[in-house]
């Protein structure tokens, strides 16, 4: 079948914060850059980020510095983070934020006229540079405009389905145009994955349709290694009512601005679970606390708890949380300046991802890089709010730089293997060939229910084993789905492909969760409720061996003594 071919130096897959920042940097380093996104430009999940970008600018708390940010991040991640990533992140985030400002971003201001910072869960000081509750929009628009001015070629509404290889290195990628259904080949010297997470594998999620774990699956299929896949973050506060909006994010900034969680008896229940940090405890703890309150019969009418910000006054709320105000007013008939919100946990963020080198964002496969949510290691067992947007900037930039250097150093363009292209195309078109088969929508729904019921906030060996068996059955069903209609903009067909990625990630999540016989961060085992010190020294990994998924443990990189001292200073 005919397909277009594009030849570039660096292909960036995904146009959220990490992809855009990577593309800008690679182009600045002189590479010819192509940026592929599944949606229109500027619609990636980053646009939904609300609360802010964590960076020790010390504009509000003069005593803040990278060391404190580093320590907060490591403690929040239950010490499972890649220490070097956490260090680079804390050191470089302030400069990345100032850079956004130089590119035109307009952050909220302090009385002195500098970038304002707000408190957030797990952060010692007010640290989040923000724009009301639409920080992600400001960030993506700033990067998007910078990107198109940098000469980056943007390929919108294009889905990458396979990475192409030349021997042991990456040679490009294969995909299709959503609009026409035609195939496309990108020959590239280096590929950066910036595809985000996999929330769509869960029934209740804050994530958009794009979040189907494509990058995780692409990397895995091509032979790269995934780590920490058992750590799926459930954001404590998603909407719970009405049914159609279940899971939509209620920003942590509500609590950052003084919002209080209460149960049906009016009790401020976080006093019980984390008396020191209360409502601004880390997300893993708050999510579990809410879940426990609901399970023990102290929930709100629609199965959540109450989040109350009314005491801050209508003017303040409308100024600092404008989109929360309209979101609740328009979608739930609740005026949050007068009544509390009903909220509950929602699948939000994948801490695990492609194993990368901290300095360069290089994966274990030569020529393949990964940045942002699709990369693993930075956040350990639990991500702090605000650390995602800064992660995108810090490691997006590093990935762009390293990929451009890698591309330049490569002696020639990697060879294109027509056999790989043919087989990728056959796999993509297969659902059209089947005369009978299930609807991909039905299988997707079954997957979401399975993951929600058996691989959710609280896990047990029995549930995880049932999940793995059920995922095996679902995999067979997914391999038999049939799609109707033509190849022109066909969402059923698109979902058939996305399902394979979600299925693979789900399997990795369940298998790694089974392997980790302890509770740590976002991973809570009812059968192993305690933290096991020995397991705090290993990452679980998943990689492909033939057609089998191999999971195992590998030692964490050792932290130098000076950094260890920084972490232990406050622990003591």
């Amino acid at each position: 079948m005919k397909h277009d071919t594009h030849e570039i130096d660096v292909l960036v897959v995904g146009a959220g914060g990490a992809g855009l920042r990577a593309a800008i940097e690679a182009a600045a380093a002189g590479a010819r850059v192509g940026l592929v996104c599944k949606s229109l430009l500027g619609k990636a999940h980053t646009v939904m980020a609300e609360g802010g970008i964590a960076a020790a600018l010390a504009n509000v708390a003069a005593q803040d510095d990278w060391r404190t940010h580093f320590r907060d991040t490591m403690l929040g991640g239950k010490m499972l983070n890649n220490w070097r990533m956490a260090q680079l992140h804390a050191q470089e985030a302030p400069e990345r934020v100032r850079e956004l400002e130089r590119w035109g971003a307009v952050f909220d201001r302090t009385p002195q006229g500098t970038i304002l910072q707000r408190p957030f869960g797990g952060h010692t000081h007010p640290r989040l540079a923000h724009v009301g509750d639409r920080t992600g929009l400001e960030m993506i628009r700033t990067l998007q405009d910078r990107c198109v001015q940098s000469g980056v070629q943007v390929f919108m509404e294009c889905t990458i389905t396979h990475l192409l290889r030349d021997g042991a290195r990456v040679a490009g990628a294969f995909g299709y145009w959503r609009e026409s259904g035609r195939c496309v080949v990108f020959r590239a010297r280096a590929v950066i994955l910036a595809t985000g997470g996999v929330g769509k594998a869960f029934e209740i999620t804050s994530n958009s349709w794009e979040y189907t774990g494509d990058g995780h699956a692409l990397a895995y299929e091509a032979g790269a290694e995934l780590i920490d896949m058992e750590f799926m973050q459930f954001h404590p506060t998603g909407m719970v009512w009405p049914p159609g909006v279940k899971g939509i994010l209620v920003t942590e900034a509500v609590r950052g601005e003084g919002g209080i969680l209460r149960n049906s008896k009016g009790e401020r229940f976080m006093e019980k679970y984390d008396p020191k940090r209360l409502d601004l405890s880390t997300r893993d703890i708050v999510a579990r606390s809410i879940h426990t309150e609901v399970r023990e019969g102290r929930g709100s009418p629609h199965g959540g708890v109450f989040l109350d910000i009314t005491h801050k006054g209508a003017d303040y709320i409308k100024r600092k949380l404008p989109s929360m105000y309209t979101q609740f007013l328009e979608l739930a008939d609740v005026d949050i300046t007068r009544d509390p919100m009903e909220v509950g946990p929602t699948a939000h963020y994948m801490m695990g991802g492609v194993r990368v080198d901290a300095e360069t964002a290089a994966s274990t496969l030569p020529g393949l890089f990964a940045a942002g949510e699709v990369a693993g290691g930075m956040h350990g067992a639990n991500r702090l709010g605000g650390n995602s947007l800064s992660d995108l900037l810090v490691f997006g930039r590093r990935a762009g730089l390293a990929a451009a250097e890698y591309a330049r150093a490569l002696p020639g363009v990697p060879a294109l293997d027509p056999v790989q292209v043919d087989s990728a195309e056959r796999a993509l078109m297969a659902p059209f060939e089947r005369p009978h088969g299930e609807s991909p929508y039905d299988v997707h729904q079954a997957l979401q229910k399975t993951m929600h019921a058996l691989v959710g906030i609280f896990r047990t060996e029995k549930d995880l084993q049932s999940a793995i068996e059920e995922l095996g059955r679902l995999k067979t069903r997914a391999a038999r789905v049939r799609v109707e209609g033509s190849r022109l903009y066909n969402p059923g067909w698109h979902l058939a492909r996305d399902l394979e990625c979600m299925m693979l990630c789900s399997e990795a999540i369940a298998r790694c969760a089974l392997l980790r016989r302890e509770s740590r961060g976002a991973h809570s085992r009812l059968d192993f409720p305690k933290t096991d010190e020995a397991l705090g020294k290993v990452n679980n990994f998943a990689r492909r061996e033939g057609e089998q998924m191999k999971v195992g443990s590998s030692p964490l990189p050792g932290m130098p003594a000076d950094l260890r001292r920084i972490v232990e200073e406050v622990k003591a």
Partner: protein, 256 residues
């Protein structure tokens, strides 16, 4: 707490435009109505049960990304923010694609023209000597414009684009960048630290004179940006100041 009363056994009929490249017709899909349901939920229901290949753009389903723009009962709306219970459900709910842009399939149109326009706008140009300090009041003025989620509803409803099709990328005499990009230019022009000027762009390439202030754009903006009064009119005034003010013509352009 106030909640809409639970609706029992109600069914709405979605009447969706189906077809390719402007050739198509309407199909009806029955959808059970759940409390608080929005039009996009109903479209998803139709997709999952009756029409798996029904083409529609969407991302966040929370009014933040501006992807799911369409015309609901003839009015440009975000489907994720349009509640079924605010529509008359005795009659079918008619959903058609944006009219101002070329039709691709079902509810999806080709909006790539907008991205080409965006690329042409002279970028942010910070003052060379700035200390990067400014007040919240100064920020407020441009933050209004920066709220734009690029849903293109304002472009869709603008008669210069919708009825007169002033979208000729090759001939500036027949090109109007539309309200969205006047908002974007306003965000740059009024940025407290911007040293650039885009009045020549507005006059010679942006077609700002073609806007005759009917304010339709302001009415449909889901972000409640006061497009006409706060963005377009001040920009028109700047163009007049820079190019038509006789004193300025004599003594040179003001420094900004």
């Amino acid at each position: 707490m106030s909640h809409p009363p639970p609706e029992t056994n109600r069914t709405a009929v979605l009447r969706v435009y189906r077809g390719e490249a402007g050739k198509g017709d309407f199909r009806d899909y029955p959808v059970p109505v759940a409390p608080g349901m929005v039009v996009l939920d109903a479209v998803h229901h139709a997709q999952a049960h009756d029409a798996p290949d029904l083409a529609v753009r969407w991302n966040c389903k929370a009014g933040k990304c501006g992807s799911c723009s369409a015309e609901v009962n003839g009015r440009p709306r975000l489907m994720c923010k349009t509640r079924l219970d605010e529509l008359p459900l005795e009659a079918p709910v008619t959903i058609t694609p944006l009219k101002a842009f070329p039709h691709l399939k079902d509810l999806v149109t080709d909006v790539s023209w907008n991205y080409e326009i965006n690329r042409r706008i002279p970028p942010f140009q910070p003052r060379p000597d700035t200390d990067w300090k400014y007040s919240q009041e100064e920020a407020d003025r441009v933050q209004e414009f920066r709220k734009c989620i690029e849903c293109f509803l304002c472009q869709d409803v603008c008669h210069v684009l919708r009825d007169h099709d002033k979208k000729d990328l090759a001939d500036p005499r027949h090109l109007f960048v539309g309200p969205r990009f006047l908002v974007r230019v306003a965000g740059l022009e009024m940025h407290p630290l911007d040293a650039g000027s885009r009045t020549r762009f507005l006059k010679e390439q942006g077609g700002i004179g073609l806007c005759n202030i009917t304010k339709c754009c302001t009415e449909v903006c889901p972000e409640q940006i006061t497009i006409t009064d706060n963005a377009i009119i001040p920009l028109k005034e700047r163009v007049v100041d820079d190019f038509y003010d006789p004193l300025r013509l004599l003594f040179g352009r003001r420094g900004r």
